[in-house]
Amino acid sequence: MRRFLRPGHDPVRERLKRDLFQFNKTVEHGFPHQPSALGYSPFLRLMAIGTRSGAIKLYGAPGVEFMGLHEENNTVMQIHFIPDQCQLVTLLDDNSLHLWSLKQHGGASELREEHRFTLKGPPGSPPSATQITAVLPHSSREVLYLGTESGNIFVVELPSFRVLEDRTITSEAVLQRVPEDYSNRRSCELVEALREHPKNPDQILIGYSRGLIVLWDLQNNKVTHHFLGSQQLENLYWQRDGSKFVSCHYDGSYTQWPVSSDNRQPEPLENLVPYGPFPCKAISKIYWQTTKNGLPYIIFQGGMPRASYGDRHSISVVHGSQQTAFDFTSRVIDFFVIFSSEPTAEFDDPSAMVVLAEEELVVIDLKTAGWPAVHPPYLASLHCSAITCSHHVSNIPLKLWERIISAGSKQNIHYSSMPWPIDGGTNIAPDPPQRDLLLTGHEDGTVRFWDASGVCLHLLYKLSTVRVFLTDADPNDNMNTLGEDEWPPLRKVGTFDPYSDDPRLGIQKIYLCKYSGYLAVAGTAGQVLVMELNDEDAEHVVDHAEADLLQDQEGYRWKGHEKLKTRDGPVRFEAGFQPFVLVQCQPPAVVTSLALHSEWKLVAFGTSHGFGLFDHQQKRPVFVKCTLHPSDQLALEGPLSRVKSLKKSLRQSFRRIRRSRVSSRKRRGGVGNASEVQEANAKFDQDALQEMELAPVQRKIEARSAEDSFTGFVRTLYFADTFLRDSSRHCPSLWAGTNGGTVYAFCLRVPPAERRMDEPVRAEQAKEIQLMHRAPVVGILVLDGRSTPLPEPLEVAHDLSKSPDMQGSHQLLVVSEEQFKVFTLPKVSSKLKLKLTALEGCRVRKVTVANFGSCKTDDYSENDLAVLTNLGDIQIISLPFLKLQIRYPCIRKEDVSGIASCVFTKYGQGFYLISPSEFERFSLSTKWLVEPRCIVDMPEITSNNHVHKKSGMENAVRKS
């Protein structure tokens, strides 16, 4: 027993371990959780996103990304790139400024924090005196102008952050020549906006919140122009030639002001409330972009009529007679417009608008008629609908890959064909070694197919299972189909839609056979769908069967949800994966395990009541087995009974409230704010949790018994061709493991291919193993005569794996939450075991066989078990001797959802959710490492570009 605890002392093995295993968190996929700030450098063509947890992420061309984290973990309020530099400044909500720079190191660029600084006023001054509200990095790259709440503007030197006190622009100095009646009415208040003159770097425009705008001459330290705005100011924007600027206001209006040398106190040229005449919400940001044809693009955020559309998160684009108010499903954090930044160009000629909403990034193509959205290559909103499960498939055959992409491209026709406009930096990472798919199942009944080969997690194809069922919500009921003459001209954009119409549609288990293109998905209401990839649209009837897992048990009453209603008659399916078989478990409890054997054409599924096997070739059930213990009331009645589900039911009831609120809002188009509701919801959940924490923390110590709850819960299903009955003949078999530590083995008789349709598949129970420690069985695996795990179905047929050794004796590996145990086959006798819980107090949460290749030699690789425990540790355990190789802390043990979401790949990588919208990718392998590797060059020194690239490539090659 101790020998497993002690690290091995074999120096050869130790060296080999160093060549095989290495732990790295490589890249974060998806959309940053709680973004709070956006920045863009037209010079570097890089975008920066800051978050409420103090992270800052930079994105350029696909594959170019950087991440930094502020030590303070405070909210990032503002991000400003230093003009023409690889540097940026961030402002946090603790009023600290941070200077970050991209520096090249070892052939690739890295993002590093260089300096930090907090503005300090004279002793005794109120904190508001130095509370920064506006930041202007001057084009000279030498100074930052910092507008504050007090109205003073401080000047600090870069990169030292030294305050240049003699250059401070005080509000007194500004107010000196303002007409008295105006200045009396309004004190300066805080600095709302600072804008440098586009042509004359010696002039800056200062906007104060009460409406006063002044043009300040930096050379002479005096005001050259006063613009006496009458409305509370929100933001300012210079027109390209510097002859005019636009101010936008709290009352939903914007004003155009002329700047001429003769008029020191100009009157507004134009004052407009675009969505008047009724009171409107503030316009918080505005762009005025010139074009060759003379008609400007006016792009502004907000300004909706307060009463009827005040809750919308909108950005309006006006170009001549065209006007669209893009309507986002979550709060708009910030946006920017990409336009010609060549100093010599005469016009702005905007090409795209980039909007950072709270839950997604939306890019609008302004060049193409109709202003279609651009499909982002990264920052995908994984959580458009909450992720309920994930499944990873490595090394997808090219043919299947192309078919999935082609099915996906048919879904994406409404996207713009514009190349991705944010294209700074160069990706120098080696091409991904293979094509990997990550499949995510969602609460709304969809399965999303992601290209997980490289750094950019990219949506390839979206599959919806909803069509098979009759649900309350009619899929054609689109709330956003507004008439032509509708005002304001709202258009819904983006994909984020967290509200599931029917939670029963949720996807719980996914299995894809990459060789045959068969896909099985299973859901919350006991539905199991088998699908096939079809390149054409098709209309057909889905074969429907029911699996009664209780088999006439008496005294039973299911109190959970009802099963889903199916559609009668043929259903039209778009090209892609099309269901042809539907099995519905009875009672309709959530499907807890799923296995598909594409060669035998069988699908096995399990719930908390039992498991079943279905022949999807002949479309008939083979058998069902009830695993329920008669005293297990909890499983009998369904998920919503007793105290155990108190937290869940609280959450669900709140979700119901939330849903009803949303629908009422939809109906009335009235009050309520989705993000507020979400926040309230999160707070409520938290409070409920806290209340639970307050209960005296004590734990009962009791041996598990057969009468415990959910012992019949089927945790794992496994198909194997092995020696189940005797050592001379092997046969197909199905293995099932339950929560109560029972393993069932069924011997299957699958008719040969030529009689496959004529003879039924037969099954017979051959073995039943009851583990004495009664811990839930989470994994079952058969090792062949060479102690290699049996290959996947069709793997050998496609020449991608050696055929299994059927000469030597097979072994059975049973992984429970507490122990790993190897048994001999066909006579099941225990051979060796590794106790995990008894020794370390941790339990197995996820386990997979992973292949590890050596980084030193190409011809060595081995199979090991990759294990994630409930403490968030990852352990690698050797096969077949079950020796602990190495252990890495990976996820915080409090992060239960992170641990639950973890999925391993076949080659020693993995993913887990760090927030509802982000996957962290990690690697346990020295060989398979997918991480960003990129260079951002100063555009002036492009001549050096290829040199860096070369060295980068060499590096990459060495690494791979």
Binding site: M1, R2, R699, E702, C747, A763, I769, C842, R843
Partner: protein, 347 residues
């Protein structure tokens, strides 16, 4: 019913053979029985091992009267001194055991049925302020019956007294194993679970460890009540409890590990039901451990009784069920009896 048969007085053989002979003579091959005899004083005395069997044979003059009772409805109180004279007839007691219902005797079973339920172990290597308690769970209905909680304790460290988090027993279930043994009490601090220190581990981790080891749980505690400690050394050694707190003898884990190794082989034997429907313990593929060989003869004896323990009726049940695997249902009582069987440990 009565049987009469002869035995060779000079070569009585072993008790087992004799027991087999009795079962054969009475044609009750799978029924567990208690065997007793009357000695010269008329006392009914048990025969259950080689020693008392030999004694019985030697005292026979020339007839040896032997009484056999089914184990299930055995009346243990019948044995003992003066039993034959006190009552008119033992047989009447045996046949009408309801006589005793009015005054229920405390049943103290036969010596062979004695099994350890709890023990204090390693007293020779542990500091006297600590107590290492072993609880044996025999798949009986009696719960282990205790709860643990987080808390903090004071330790002596090189830097002086320090408050550190600890795990404590928070509650004993009335009637549970933990309470019945009297070896554990509320507020005892848990220091180790089966040889693994719990310091630095969370309450949930320790809970999982205890449950995983629940079939053979060894917990080292520092009793809250230190007054009952046995003072083993002379007082001059002056070892105060706390000073040894952080320095358990370094050899302890190894010793424990060694003796656990032996444990390993017998503590958890999974049940396998082949398609023939016959449940059985999973045998060891390779009896690796030498410790098995060092087991005493008594253990072997026990094993033989274990094998004979399977009641025939249940065997039959399994046979009949096994022929139709599809409808095969595992009978729970089977399991229970098997569990009990699997965990008999003798050291």
């Amino acid at each position: 019913e009565f049987r009469r048969f002869s035995l060779e007085r000079s070569k009585p053989g072993k008790f087992e053979e004799f027991y087999g002979l009795l079962q054969h003579v009475h044609k009750i091959p799978n029924v567990d029985v208690l065997v007793g005899y009357t000695d010269i004083h008329g006392d009914l005395l048990p025969i259950n091992n080689d020693d008392n069997y030999h004694k019985a044979v030697s005292t026979a003059n020339p007839l040896l009267r032997i009484f056999i009772q089914r184990k299930e409805d055995a009346d243990y109180s019948a044995f003992g001194t003066d039993t034959m004279t006190r009552k008119k007839n033992v047989l009447s007691n045996v046949l009408r055991p309801d006589n005793h219902k009015k005054k229920p005797h405390i049943v103290i079973s036969m010596p062979q049925d004695f099994r350890p339920v709890s023990s204090i172990i390693d007293v020779d290597i542990l500091p006297e302020t600590h107590r290492r308690v072993r609880l044996y769970k025999y798949g009986t209905d009696k719960p282990l019956g205790f709860y643990i909680r987080d808390g903090s304790s004071v330790r002596v460290t090189p830097h002086g007294l320090e408050k550190v988090p600890g795990i404590f027993i928070s509650r004993l279930v009335p009637g549970g194993l933990a309470q019945s043994t009297g070896l554990l009490a509320v507020n005892d601090e848990v220091l180790e679970v089966n040889g693994i220190e719990v310091s630095g581990k969370s309450l949930d981790q320790v809970t999982d460890m205890m449950i995983a080891n629940s079939r053979n749980l060894i917990i080292t505690v520092r009793p809250a009540n230190q007054r009952n400690n046995v003072v083993r050394n002379s007082r001059t050694s002056g070892s105060s409890g706390q000073s040894t707190e952080s320095s358990l003898p370094s050899s302890t884990p190894n010793i424990l590990a060694n003796f656990l190794q032996g444990e390993e082989e017998s503590d958890e034997e999974d049940i396998i039901i082949e398609d023939s429907g016959e449940p059985q313990q999973i045998p060891k593929a390779t009896p690796t451990s030498e410790s098995l060989e060092s087991l005493t003869q008594t253990e072997l004896l026990h094993e033989s009784t274990q094998n004979g323990f399977l009641p025939s009726s249940e065997m039959n049940l399994n046979h009949s069920a096994g022929s139709m695997s599809m409808e095969y249902e595992v009978q729970d009582p089977d399991h229970k009896s098997l569990e009990e069987d699997g965990t008999i440990i003798t050291l």
